[in-house]
């Protein structure tokens, strides 16, 4: 018989061994003594510790089915590929090929070099074999998508070498928490996947997740550095949350996103509701990006008046979005998403430029108030953009009024104040919006010399009927007067409210009573009619 490195066995009817070569003998016959049937050969090969447990059944099954391929391992660690094909007279030809080098390189491709963990490819493969029932595992498989909180700042502050060290330590701790049968993989950066099989769900995933959050989230001491990390986990259960590997991973990732937005250091399960909300958000995000290109955004201008002289003093520019199918989308719905996605930066720039251009067409000294998002303060371009918007429009900076909420000052107060100083240095004015609704509005007045305080409409609305609201409006008006800041009341809807506000010494007013938001043309018409009266 042909002597090659490929082991060859010719099997006749009833599993009789007809012929075999030396390679096949070396692979399957411990004592090199011939056996009558293939079943006996394999029986002894297993008994003598040549082939791994389970290989015998697979090979016999393959022969019984008349042909095909399978792979098995030898006890000494080689991987053998078996091709069975039917030959003449009902005989079957078995070819055993040693594929160890190929398998090893594939296994290396499925491993993360830093941590030694299997990678995404390995997870996909294992998931596929579980989800198609090939693995015969019991119970609902659970996929935990694990992400480290604050890992980026470790890399940024301590360097990547330390970051790598931390990751290894993290994996070490995860390993302590794992149980038999769990598969831990590194999905990338600071993301890990943990596949839990054969357990009762969702309790087992929850318990394992809590343990990971506790143990992995504890402080690390590494070469004299103390490192604090958190752990967020999203869980998807198969097959309910995905009967296909890609979908299961995606849904576990969605659950992770939810866990992160719920405040990190938490675990969340995937739910249909979560899925719907995320889909809706994605759709909104896509529409919003398109809207910017299609110019579906528009600005409305709400007039602001001097309470004493009843003169028009300016307008607040308000962002409007009219979508072809959604209709009018409320800023309350799209601004938070624009802030999260960073879309607020180009959108905010568009608002600045458009409003400045519009205001430049109004007679001086009519002003325009523009709201800036806290997110815009985190970009280095804010001041140059304000300057450029003013320059392009040819608007006197004193007619631009930048409105910010307390939210902008909450984080990195110092750097935000520095930006506000620069905006003021350009000659523009700065107002504090929604005054009184935050935690420490008063302390911010000390940190920056605002030109104007906008009293929140929640207080204005109660100014006639609720003594405490009235007291607050009166106090803020007095505060503004003594600090030399203009006060403006927003949300004024009735004459009684307007009278009360005037009595308290509020300087300006804005609201449905004195004027609703107008289109640019209507605002121009209002200005024209006011000038005609004067």
């Amino acid at each position: 018989m042909l002597e090659t490195r490929t082991g060859i066995v010719l099997v006749g009817p009833e599993g009789r061994v007809l012929q075999y070569n030396l390679s096949a003998a070396a692979l399957l016959l411990a004592d090199r003594a011939p056996r009558e049937t293939l079943a006996q050969v394999l029986d002894d090969a297993e008994k003598f510790g040549l082939i791994a447990a389970g290989a015998k059944e697979r090979i016999l099954k393959l022969c019984a089915s008349g042909g095909g391929n399978c792979q098995f391992d030898t006890v000494d660690g080689r991987s053998i590929h078996l091709a069975a094909s039917s030959a003449e007279h009902g005989q079957i030809l078995l070819e055993f090929i040693d594929v160890t080098p190929v398998v090893r390189s594939v296994r290396n491709e499925q491993r993360d070099p830093l941590t030694g963990l299997p990678n995404r490819v390995a997870l996909l493969e294992r998931l596929a074999s579980i989800l198609t029932g090939r693995d015969g595992v019991s119970g609902q498989p659970a996929l935990l998508y694990i992400d480290l909180d604050r890992f980026k700042s470790v890399n940024d502050t301590l360097g990547h070498a330390m970051g790598d060290l931390v990751l290894k330590r993290v994996v070490d701790r995860m390993g302590r928490v794992l149980e038999d049968g769990d598969m831990l993989v590194r999905l990338g950066g600071d993301e890990f996947g943990l596949l839990q099989v054969g357990k009762s769900q969702p309790h087992a995933a929850e318990a394992l997740g809590r343990k990971l959050i506790d143990i992995v989230g504890r402080a690390y001491l590494l070469q004299g550095n103390m490192v604090n990390l958190g752990v967020s986990i999203g869980v998807a259960l198969a097959p309910a949350d995905g009967d296909e590997a890609g979908l299961l991973i995606k849904n576990a990732d969605l659950a992770l996103f939810k866990a992160k937005s719920d405040g990190r250091g938490t675990l969340r399960f995937f739910t249909d509701d979560l899925n719907r909300r995320v889909q809706a958000r994605r759709a909104l995000e896509v529409d919003m990006r398109r809207a910017l290109a299609l110019r579906e955004f528009d600005l409305a201008y709400q007039p602001q008046y001097d309470v004493g002289t009843k003169q028009l003093v300016g307008f607040e520019a308000l962002l409007r979005w009219t979508h072809a199918e959604r209709g009018v989308v409320s800023p309350a719905d799209f601004i938070p998403l624009a802030e999260e996605t960073g879309l607020i930066v180009p959108l905010g720039e568009w608002v600045l430029r458009t409003a400045c251009r519009q205001a430049a067409s109004w007679p001086a000294p009519l002003s325009v108030s523009i709201n800036l998002s806290p997110v815009q303060f985190r970009t280095p371009e804010l001041v140059p953009i304000v300057l450029s918007a003013l320059g392009q429009a040819g608007l006197d900076p004193s007619r631009l009024d930048i409105e910010i909420t307390e939210g902008a000052l909450l984080d990195n107060t110092e750097s935000v104040v520095a930006i506000l100083e620069q905006i003021k240095a350009l000659g523009a004015r700065v107002s504090m919006d929604d005054f009184g609704t935050g935690y420490s509005s008063l302390s911010y007045l000390q940190k920056f010399a605002f030109d104007k305080i906008k009293i929140d409409q929640s207080f204005v609305r109660g100014v006639v009927s609720q003594p405490d609201s009235a007291a607050i409006v009166r106090a803020v008006a007095a505060l503004g007067a003594s600090l030399g800041m203009t006060t403006i009341a927003e949300g004024v809807e009735t004459q009684a409210q307007l009278d009360e506000i005037g009595r308290f010494g509020c300087n300006q007013v804005q609201g449905y009573l004195t004027g609703r938001p107008l289109t640019a043309q209507a605002a121009a018409a209002l200005i024209a009619s006011v000038s005609a009266r004067d």
């Binding site: 330590r169 701790r173 302590r176 506790d214 504890r218 590494l222 070469q223 004299g224 103390m226």
Partner: protein, 139 residues
Amino acid sequence: MDYRLVYHSANRLESDQDQKHAQIEQILEKSRRNNAQVGVTGALMFNAGHFIQVLEGPPAAVEATFERIQQDDRHGDVALIQFEPIAQRGFSNWSMAYVGSSPTDRLNGIGARSGFDPGKLDAETLFQRLRALLTQEQV
């Protein structure tokens, strides 16, 4: 140069007194064995709700010991309050001294009476207190 590490944590031991005692014995036995091998000395204090532990030794050995402690789920809310170089060890004779010989001993009495809360004490105070208690009671 030796380092000293001080931490406190909330213990999650069994509430049954005998089991608790057995668990502490086990912790001490294991840490004495491990510490002796790597040249770490220190002291462990235990009261109804907390562990306080001092570890002294070469920094790498102290870090490795602390990592093992961090992986132990018999306690939680671990607060590391000191990790600094020291001129001289405070517990050089003990691979792991135990302040208090049983969970119902005098020390716990002191802890309960004084409303002892390790979270309110700084590392130096904890260290000094452990040393004082140890020289009074155990030697």
